[in-house]
Symmetry: C2
Subunit: 180 residues, 2 copies
């Protein structure tokens, strides 16, 4: 049993959507009292730090409705059913940026919002890039511009908050340490 484990007394599905679903779990706390936990279920995702031969990192610029603005992120995408994270990473990098990579390295996985969501992002580094085609294979409701940022350009984008999400903030500081 995990420390401070909260036993599920009842789980109620509130919503089942295309991307996420929502459930409310009634739990028994370690002190015996009960509480409710609001939990977003998500299929999980991958994100890719793709490094060009000129030591730039490939970025995608897209509108994020939840934030009501356009931000610049490392390429990422949801896991499809039955798909291994490395397959998703290869598929999303090609679909969103038109790049293939010869060298793939798994970096780490993390939960984005452990307080209310089960989403886990699996982070990969892609190197030895080649162009497969223009970025024409993206999902029909995706509109994306592709950029390539040096470490300095990434740091500027953090300061101006064009880079504004956790996985990309992580990628920037990782690149600062590792892309030389």
């Amino acid at each position: 049993m995990s420390k401070f484990e909260e036993k599920t007394l009842q789980s109620t599905e509130i919503f089942k959507g295309n991307v996420i679903s929502l459930q409310v779990d009634e739990v028994q706390l370690p002190n015996g009292r009960t509480s409710n936990r609001e939990i977003v279920k998500h299929p999980g995702a991958v994100a890719v730090i793709a490094i060009t031969d000129t030591k730039k990192v490939v970025m995608v610029e897209q509108y994020r409705k939840a934030l009501e603005r356009t931000i610049v992120e490392i390429p990422a995408g949801k896991l499809e059913a039955g798909e291994l994270p490395e397959m998703t990473a290869k598929r999303e990098l090609e679909e969103e940026t038109g790049y293939l990579a010869n060298k793939w390295t798994y970096l780490q996985s993390f939960s984005t919002s452990p307080g209310f969501a089960d989403e886990i992002i699996h982070l990969f580094v892609a190197e030895e890039l080649t162009r497969s085609h223009s970025n024409l294979a993206m999902d029909e409701d995706e509109f994306i511009d592709v950029h390539e940022y040096s470490v300095v350009e990434m740091e500027d984008a953090v300061l101006s908050e064009r880079i504004f999400d956790a996985k990309t903030a992580y990628a920037v500081i990782w690149a600062k340490m590792n892309v030389k």
Copy 2:
């Protein structure tokens, strides 16, 4: 107008909870077609990289129902209505760990899951720590153990996935660069 902006045609609130609410927005895409965006609304949060005089980082260990396990995170908490992030940061650090800090530095803010949630975490560094009391003021449904990790201990915890969330993964790599 933001590039690739998605105009809201209709917004439907699905659920209003204690921590999050959920809405589905029907949007008009840049190509004129319509799509739905499932959006979790969250009040926003703070997280604190608190560094002791012996160059360790203060961590809290707690059960996360969404992940169904206990993980180790930097101290964090939700913004209360009308509360400035720096006030929340000071309150949460003291409530969760019993530490006060004399020196506060704002680091950056990021969205945790821009694809489906509006949650933004404001990240602070706290130094020159003093103990105020034991960690007795936590919320009634919070059960927390406090730890202090060196950079090496944090890196081990990342490898064993006891550290497993985005803000703490960021903190580890930030500490590796900045805590010497």
